[in-house]
């Protein structure tokens, strides 16, 4: 670990067993699909077989006549919502589009879009009933790529949508938005550059690939209220969205977040929740709906693909002078494809005296994209880091040295205008430069006959977010503390939040008992996303714990018959300033709560303004390429990242390794392979080739700690940056191995063979 100015912590930096771990290794943890309710019916969803079609009629009479069927819902049961922006924390969603997406109305806009749903006595009956629903479709021409969607005369997906193109309102377009950031005069600076590099980079859609399919179980009550049990990354944002599309007050909806089997951004949006509520309302009983794997691929929100064109200019000494980029993401059938975050991150790793960033949010007849781990940053950064590598080649510089020379640091201005606070970009690059991996020359001669080896480096950035969180602490008279929070725990955040409270209280991590509760049981809490949970909800826990300490000082004062101001607290021990030999442990004060004024409960509420600068990651990778088959093996991999303060190092390392392997899959094999009709041809875990244990290398991790000035313990959110560097790092290693630049993802074996052919020709 590289650590900068780190205070001594008792709990932070240790590796306790996570609080929810026991239930999870015993198979007792209740995930979304595990919920049981009396009289529970099962739902199934009928989905559009067409990518674009007018729906002329739906006849569900045969389905309703099937024994065991309780209810059928269609778009008619969920009228299209009015234009209204829903605050989903980090994403702003138009309720009208959300309601159009969740179930088709007059038009189906992508293959796999829900058209109707059935509640029945069991899964098989519900599915069979779906097959009995007759839908009269009139297929329409469809567009699937950025180029098709932006071509003159392209079929328009939303006739009434008015695009915003750099402030101008443009009707009759598939470009929902074109944004622009300009810093300085990039064209003039580029003209004066000694060296320029440019390229066009193409990206396929990729899926988060969480193992647990989406699910929702709902109970509608006759008083107009509803409870939804679901796997979500944000129960409160989900409640907002359900409220908007079903026109129910938020207070009428209780979202109960169950354990969640992965998300990576894909379980922010709602899909099945409103459908389950409507089915329950009609069926008069609770209804559970679980998505099948094909539908998860076809009809949830993958990360966008698209095209990124970029040019970088530098002087002879290797100082960047200008960067321009044109980012076009295929959003799918509704606006919102992470172009704003892509714009923020694309040039954030370096000091650019001048830059221009154009970004286009382009509609296509595919399922709407969603956030996917550092949304937009990997796609845009693939271009930046590939070209930084080219620049290093042109200048004859070491790729880490070039990055260090240009690395952004405190006080530098990003092209979107924001000035960085204290960040760890330089320290992370230095950690890689000094790593055993980078200092050990690649054993090129060790490659088997017909194999070639190469090494690549890349840096990635995710800015993270802050926002709102609430944590309630209730002190027990045995000296333990119940911690109530609203963030679903996707990767150990019960532990990382509880540890921060424990640090303040001076008690062991396992003496804080965290529970994730529903939307009626804790104050508003934003998503488990945006690398915010350990950072922001942790800050709320710190705030609540500080209030506990203040109150317990008063209680100790009562016990000693002194003023509260006379009580000191440190390391879990209260001390009487008036009598230095008088000490009380946390437990001792808690044991007397009843006789010093009753039980103690506090609530910490935060609304953090930003993330404190975000987290940088740099990876170095060695690859071995079989030039006869095009197969790429990752033979060594090191990931370095700034964690601010690593709360639970094992889970920091886990995030780093997990992000790296997800990025390796993205780099080498993962893609939406579309048929000519817009169908996802590889919509299974067999053909959407995520890395297995035999494909993944051991990931060596280097935690760098440059404390975050916006968090009481210096914590940074670390969940996302780690998926940004792998793709360009591997592309750069391929360039090193073969002398070939791969500007398109994935770098799959067929593509490698073609490129080798072209090189030989």
């Amino acid at each position: 670990m590289t650590t900068v100015d780190k205070p001594h912590y008792k709990v932070l930096g240790t590796r306790p067993i996570r609080h929810d771990g026991l239930d999870k290794v015993l198979g007792r943890a209740v995930y979304g699909a595990d919920i049981k309710l009396a009289g529970l019916a099962t739902g199934a969803v009928l989905r559009s077989p067409h990518a674009h079609a007018r729906i002329k009629g739906i006849d569900a009479s045969a389905a309703l006549a099937l024994p065991g069927v309780f209810a059928v819902v269609t778009g008619a049961d969920m009228p299209i919502a009015d234009d209204q922006l829903i605050d989903m924390t980090e994403e702003i969603v138009n309720a009208r589009f959300a309601s159009m997406r969740i179930i088709a109305h007059d038009k189906a806009l992508f293959k796999g879009q829900p058209v109707a749903a059935v509640a029945a006595v069991d899964q098989n009956t519900a599915q069979e009933a779906c097959r009995l629903i007759k839908v009269d479709y009139e297929p329409l021409p469809a567009v699937f790529t950025v180029e098709e969607a932006m071509a003159p005369g392209a079929p328009i997906i939303h006739e009434h949508l008015v695009g915003t193109h750099v402030g101008e309102k443009v009707p009759h377009t598939n470009v929902a938005e074109h944004t622009q950031h300009v810093l300085g005069d990039p064209d003039a600076a580029m003209d004066k550059a000694d060296v320029t590099v440019e390229g066009e980079f193409r990206l396929a859609r990729v899926h988060q690939g969480y193992i647990e399919p989406h699910n929702a179980t709902a109970m509608w009550y006759r008083d107009g209220k509803a409870t939804v049990w679901t796997s979500t990354q944000g129960s409160f944002p989900a409640r907002n969205a359900i409220s908007s599309v079903l026109r129910m007050p938020v207070s009428a909806i209780k979202v109960v977040p169950l354990e969640i089997g992965g998300g990576f951004g894909g379980k922010i949006n709602i899909y099945l929740e409103p459908i389950a509520i409507l089915l329950s309302k009609k069926a008069g009983r609770p209804v559970k709906v679980v998505m099948d794997r094909r539908s998860v691929f076809e009809a949830t929100g993958p990360g966008p693909g698209g095209v990124v064109r970029m040019k970088l200019g530098a002087d002879k000494a290797g100082n960047l002078v200008a960067g321009t980029v044109d980012i076009r993401f295929a959003a799918g059938a509704f606006p919102g494809s992470s172009i704003s975050a892509a714009s923020t991150c694309v040039f954030a790793s370096y000091r650019f005296p001048s830059a221009r960033i154009d970004a286009y949010d382009v509609l296509t007849n595919l399922t709407k994209t969603a956030a996917y781990r550092a949304p937009g940053s990997p796609q845009a950064t693939f271009a930046t880091e590939s070209l930084m590598d080219e620049l290093a080649h042109q200048l004859g510089m070491d790729p880490v040295a070039l990055r260090l020379q240009n690395a952004s640091k405190e006080g530098d201005r990003r092209p979107d205008g924001i000035v960085f606070p204290r960040i760890g970009n330089v320290e992370v690059l230095e950690a890689v430069r000094d790593s055993d991996h980078y200092r050990t020359p690649l054993d090129r001669a060790g490659a088997a006959p017909g194999h070639k080896r190469g090494r690549g480096v890349a840096t990635g950035y995710w800015q993270g977010v802050g926002n709102r969180s609430t944590v309630t602490l209730a002190v027990n008279n045995d000296g333990t503390v119940a911690l109530i929070e609203g963030n679903t725990d996707i990767g150990g955040t019960r532990a990382s939040i509880a540890m921060q409270a424990a640090e303040v209280l001076g008690i062991p991590a396992l003496d804080v008992h965290p529970t994730v509760v529903d939307t009626d049981s804790v104050g508003y809490t934003d998503l488990t996303a945006g690398s915010r949970t350990t950072y922001a909800t942790g800050a709320a826990a710190v705030k609540a714990a500080e209030q506990v300490v203040a109150e317990l000082k008063r209680r100790a004062a009562i016990m000693w018959e002194v003023e509260a101001a006379d009580v000191d607290f440190a390391g879990g021990v209260f001390t009487n300033r008036k009598a230095a030999d008088q000490h009380l442990s946390f437990k001792q004060v808690c044991a007397r709560l009843d006789r010093t004024g009753g039980h103690v409960s506090t609530t910490g509420v935060v609304n953090l303004r930003g993330s404190g600068g975000g987290s940088f990651a740099t990876h170095v990778v060695d690859v071995d390429v079989d030039t006869e088959t095009g197969k790429v093996e990752v033979i060594r991999y090191t990931a370095a990242q700034d964690a601010g303060t690593a709360v639970h190092p094992s889970y920091v390392e886990g995030q780093m390794a997990g992000g790296a392997v997800q990025g390796i899959g993205w780099a080498l094999n993962e893609e939406y392979y579309l048929g000519p009709d817009g169908s996802v041809q590889n919509a299974s875990f067999l053909d959407y080739r995520m890395p297995t244990m035999l494909d993944a290398p051991t990931i060596e991790t280097l935690i760098v700690e440059v404390p975050n000035t916006m968090h009481p313990f210096g914590v940074r959110g670390i969940g996302e940056s780690g998926i940004v560097p792998p793709q360009p790092a591997i592309a750069n290693a391929m360039r090193d191995a073969l002398g070939i630049r791969f500007p398109e993802l994935p770098i799959k074996p067929g593509r490698v063979l073609e490129a080798l052919d072209a090189q030989g020709a």
Partner: protein, 291 residues
């Protein structure tokens, strides 16, 4: 999924009767690892499945001299964990040990892989080059056919209504013979062959290739017997040049398409490479080398 009945047969006669009684909308099920997936995906409907895993002939491994009969429902693990099979029929082991993961190998059988008739079926090409014979039972009695004739198209086989595969017979390997199967997949496990090649050779007393057999997976609607490539080796000294030439011929005999798993060009190249590599391995095995 269309509701179906489950019938467990305990003898060949019971299985024949159960299939006959249920008509064309019934099928025999061994491991079920393909059947259940296809039924769930709605690829076809059945009114009954007949579980043949309790029929003794279908779950037996029977040696007769050097010849081996593998019951159609014997799961892959029983094949590849058998040291005698590994010694006599290494090419079969190569295929059996890469179908799915460990979980699937507990269930999936070579017979099921053959009847499923996927062009990518990893068991089929090794069976072909080992000269395997399919034993079939049905309402009209029993019959045999070369394994190479079982697949008739993607997902289609030569079995008639009410027929099912009983066993696969592997003739005793000749002295000086060796075989190997390799496939190319982007992932290292849990994947479908982009292309696969099985090769078998018989070496004569002087170490020359007397005969060879080559079969190609995933590069046509059915496994392809690369007869010309095999013929090009007859009488030759095993050599890199001869193997490379056979690979090029095999690549011409392939009839690949471009799909989500790979491109036509890529597949032809892979056939060429894998033919060479499997021939090298088969010859090494024929010479008794550990390859």
């Amino acid at each position: 999924m269309h509701p179906f009945r489950y019938l467990a047969a305990h003898s060949i006669d019971e299985a024949v009767a159960a299939l006959a009684q249920s008509g064309p909308r019934a099928r025999a099920m061994a491991g079920g690892t393909d059947l259940l997936v296809q039924l769930r995906a709605g690829r076809y409907e059945l009114d009954a499945v007949v579980d043949v895993k309790h029929v003794p002939e279908l779950t037996a491994l029977t040696w007769d001299g050097g010849a081996l009969t593998i019951g159609a429902a014997v799961p892959c693990y029983r094949v590849y964990e058998d040291e005698r099979i590994a010694a006599a029929f290494p090419g079969i082991i190569d295929g059996a040990s890469i179908i799915g993961g460990i979980q699937v190998q507990s269930r999936a059988s070579l017979g099921g892989n053959l009847c499923n008739a996927a062009p990518s079926g990893d068991a089929i090409c090794p069976l072909i080059v080992h000269g395997a014979i399919a034993h079939v039972a049905g309402p009209k009695g029993k019959r045999t056919m070369p394994v190479s004739q079982v697949p008739t198209g993607p997902g289609r086989n030569a079995l008639g209504e009410g027929e099912f595969l009983v066993a696969i017979e592997l003739p005793a390997p000749a002295r000086g013979s060796g075989a190997a199967y390799q496939r190319f997949t982007p992932r290292n496990e849990m994947d479908i062959a982009v292309a696969g090649v099985a090769s078998a050779v018989n070496l004569d007393g002087s170490g020359r290739i007397a005969t060879a057999s080559i079969a190609l997976a995933s590069v046509g609607p059915t496994p392809i017997v690369a007869a010309e490539a095999a013929a090009s080796l007859a009488g030759k000294e095993p050599s890199a040049a001869a193997f490379a030439e056979a690979g090029q011929i095999a690549a011409r005999e392939a009839r690949p398409i471009t799909d989500m798993r790979g491109t036509e060009v890529q597949r032809r190249k892979l056939v060429s490479v894998l033919t060479r590599r499997t021939l090298e391995q088969a010859v090494a095995r024929a010479k008794g080398e550990n390859a």
